[in-house]
Symmetry: D2
Subunit: 353 residues, 4 copies
């Protein structure tokens, strides 16, 4: 079966295929009284949109967000917020040739094994098009967090293939380049790397980091709804994600306890290897998450694959694709962080009034 809902008491449910008529989302559990407009949501959605630079897919969606319910006179009412975006630039004919082919590295084979039937156009439900709705829902959560708790969320590209991009953090420049790269001096290097990659027909992975500031202490639902467990699930549910770290992450493996434990003084913590979470509960420090994205598998470079009858075929993927899906992942990762944090603030209120 499917599980197209996310969250405990703030719950988002999404529907829609890459090449279907529309994608949609329902946000359930948002408190009443938040001012929000379709325009604000669309602004966030456009940050994730393709077609804005030559380094991403050239599909150009209008991303015309419609609020169908739950908002009255620009204010949330407490009832479910229905959001809809019509797909306007799907080019399904690109997919005619893979109708009977199962692209390696894609969900084609596994959806086939699971359901025995699929909407093959643009990956159908398994397409990252679905993440548009996460960003839309995340825009609401983000605003709520900002207005009510002063929470600030910022993501960035930390590594693109071999290139580390965050040794220098110039926060305010992150949105100024198509990579969400925090170091403007690395942008030309990224440009030329991507140009070469595009020419080669290959793709590459990326690491995207996200930080949340001003997170109240005490968020997290032990034992199985820990804040870090929910963040891990949230990030790993994004298309192409293969790894998630909280704070020091895999560096913890070789760390000594005396180095890792974050000492405390009345003035605050002396370090943040924990990434703002201890025992599954936020400590009030910055919450820090890092996510690894694999290289996209949609390549025009041929490879060996199967068709739906199980015959070997040579597979060449045409259509419009991102040579590095991680480039557009930053707004998605921010959205998931926002949704998890808002959900946990509401949850915390339930038990702690």
């Amino acid at each position: 079966m499917s599980y197209n809902s996310f969250g405990h008491v703030l719950r988002i449910s999404t529907f829609g295929e890459s090449h279907g008529p529309a994608i949609g989302c329902m946000i359930d559990g948002c408190p009443p009284g938040l001012e929000i407009t379709a325009g604000e949501i669309r602004e966030e959605v456009l940050r994730r949109a393709s077609g804005k630079s030559r380094h991403t897919s050239q599909r150009r969606e209008k991303e015309d967000v419609k609020i169908l319910s739950g908002v009255f006179e620009n204010q949330t009412t407490g009832t479910p917020i229905g959001l809809l975006i019509e797909n306007t630039d799907a080019r399904s004919k690109d997919y005619e040739n893979i109708k009977r082919q199962l692209r390696p590295g894609h969900a084609d084979y596994t959806y086939w094994k699971k359901y025995g039937f699929r909407d093959y156009r643009g990956g159908g439900r398994s397409s990252a098009r679905e993440t548009t709705m996460r960003v839309a829902a995340g825009a609401v959560a983000r605003k709520w967090l900002k207005v009510n708790h002063g929470v600030e969320i910022q993501g960035w590209l930390a590594q693109l293939g071999p290139i580390r991009t965050d040794s220098t953090m110039e926060w305010e420049t992150i949105d100024d380049n198509p990579f969400f790269c925090p170091d403007p001096e690395r942008v030309p290097e990224l440009e030329s790397y991507m140009d070469g990659l595009r020419k080669s027909g290959d793709s590459v992975g990326a690491r995207v980091n996200v930080i949340a500031r001003n997170v109240p202490a005490g968020l997290g639902a032990p034992i199985y709804g820990k804040l870090d467990a929910d963040l891990a699930s949230a990030m790993m549910s994004i298309n192409a994600a293969k790894g998630v770290e909280i704070g020091a992450g895999f560096d913890s493996v070789a760390q000594m306890g005396t180095a890792h434990r974050d000492e405390m003084t009345p003035q605050g913590f002396l370090s943040n290897h924990a990434g703002g979470i201890l025992g599954g509960i936020s400590s009030g420090q910055d919450v820090m998450v890092s996510t690894a994205f694999k290289p996209t598998s949609s390549l025009r470079i041929p490879c060996r694959g199967l068709d739906i009858e199980g015959n070997e075929v040579e597979i060449v993927t045409k259509g419009r694709h991102d040579p590095c899906v991680g480039i557009r992942a930053t707004p998605i990762v921010e959205a998931m962080m926002a949704l998890v944090l808002m959900d946990h603030i509401l949850l915390h209120r339930a038990q702690n009034g």
Copy 2:
């Protein structure tokens, strides 16, 4: 609020504190007809137990597992399986001195911020004692998977602090040493490293890997109950976990698409960078997960911390502790893998009959 349940249709719920009278677990949704005894469950629980070598905590629990319900004439009935283990070797007086202290790197501060009141003895609910019940429940899931689907699950210590331990994989030796190390030749090195660590009073992190074989293709509940998302949540919910990888994990960041995508032939996949999961659904390949565990923060080496009034205090942790919590994590990681897989097989049956 708390979320002490895990799983969609196979659901485990645990209760109990480290120094309370008992820890318990309820397994809901296990199909009828599985033969299982308390002895079999205890056998798994003992694999995780402390006090078996000088390299782990010296707390020695009898781990006398009682089945209170759901099993009749050694067969599951389909009704909830109640499990109970009485705590027999808690030494609460060790914790008198930290009654009013918040140990850095522990959940003390965050539980205090969340609940304003805590059972400080042995970490209370935040203690890894809780994971005993995961292993107990996992024993049931593991047997069910084995009997019904031939699924085999094997975990191992892949790295202990600076020492990589799995360049050679001698599967059958993993349970022969107290580290779950798959390379018997590295065991002496581990022994002497741990001896030195214990003397120094410090602790260290570890990486634990787990593989599941013979997993049916088609498991996973898109979009937010993806198999990898659920595994990430499962592993990250284990005490001290700071990172989770599926398949190539963070190595994907620097990989090219041509290298990462696992080509397919009628004879099978040519590689497994995906770790057995594509689009959140199992592909039939081995499912591979890697988890990073931080070094324990309970050290006799003093550090700066706070008391519950917010005053700075020097904190020295006595009591019996694991200098490397990752050593005993292998059976826990296996249990979480088993619980997730069984849950997803049941879920898959719901939708696909």
Copy 3:
């Protein structure tokens, strides 16, 4: 917070207000391979529609059902089915006068107390307009049940105000009159009763029964997801419902055990006081549920009420209303029965393969 989703593994989520731009629904967990068209769904929706006779509200919606996702080439794919109906005949100006008034017997006061802010037009989210989407989702469930298990579901009006209408059951005539009355000879009496009621400006309650045939034995999830408990919740969640009975219902109070217990022979049960459910699990007998609907409170006959500042006001409700909401409840009750049964068949498969 809100809970706009229903079901365990077949889950429907609805959004939309009576006078908003559209109402929508997402069906999650429907197995792949069911043939379904928007036309079939609309046919069911029209059975519930107002404006078809003089005895119901004169609001006339096109009820143009759009399938936005989850169906490809007229077949369900296993991914979430998105449904949308645009509101085309809302007349919001009718509600200007109650903008600041809280109508007795309505959800106006309680929504106000809960959310402090509301979309007052047509009752907003609390309007029975929402039930349109239950019927739409129910159409899918109903077809699935019919095709896969031969389950037949039939509801009827059993009582309208003082008039008992089901002493004679002519099943095939139920859809031939605007009341879903199974006894064609009572229809003229109902017509004239309703004409009188409309003239008087008053309203009246009703009892609606529903039966499901060919329900497999073994459905139900003890202890808290019992089939009857889920049916009770399903029916009681319908607007204006005030009571639910399974089988003999309240008649059981005065029954003797020897009369109530349904004796069994190899040829089957000798009676069905249980209503097809024993211990929360279906027995294979017909599942029978009866629901009481209160009279609508939207009357042009004045009454005492409050405005949102708490002042006493005389309240007169204009707009287009049903003098007996129970008349149109039959398709809703059928839909809820279908959704519960399909959910429980899927659930049962999870545990029992």
Copy 4:
């Protein structure tokens, strides 16, 4: 599969069979800081206990409630509360003769069809013994509601077979007789009716009502977690329940709108046909629920039934049984009311802070 948990954010999970070693319960989500002792819980449990008069089953359990977790120094900690009661007076030999028989009116047949295997002793999991744990959990909820919101919950026997028992309400006498009858003058009549019934070997149904006072307005989670829908599910999940009414219930069927709608003045509502709930949300009026319980089917009077091979057998039920299960239902109904209300207060806090 099974669903042995109840509630949204306050969740209880129960396990245990009638003749197993113990029954248990876990309460998840109870806020920290509530003072509670095992003695207080036991006091409530004893109100439900059998063997206190000649009119109920003669099984006499010690009902020795043990708190295994979640309470430290007599205060809840916010972590799950584990409760356990050992079964001490099960007489399993009584059930040897029905080992292969399926008692009509019982869950024997349906459990057999669902699971194919059952613990037949005393009904196993389908026994009302499970409701002991509802009362235990309810005791915690009840105290929390009282201390934090002044909520008072009172149930009573409203009808026993043909005898209406609540035309006179002398609240303070309800606990003074073994029937929870609010009219002391009817007690002798009940005594003699029950004596006759016991002699005859037959059984009879009952109606049990419950009222909750001082319930805050605004509780309820539209659309599918409405307060009345959750109460209906809660009550219908109790063994032998066949009907649930809120407020006027089935009397609404024949009511006119002018009579049913509860007019409001600044001094309050002028009536309470709604039973304190409008649109699924509490209005601040008394919440009123009525539940029908069928007569028990365990009779020594023979009847026709099947064995597990499907052969017809004459069935005679020995053992110790309640000739009217409704007599002991009052504390259970109160417990379910308490659990639902506390859950909804916590839920409401989540969204409305």
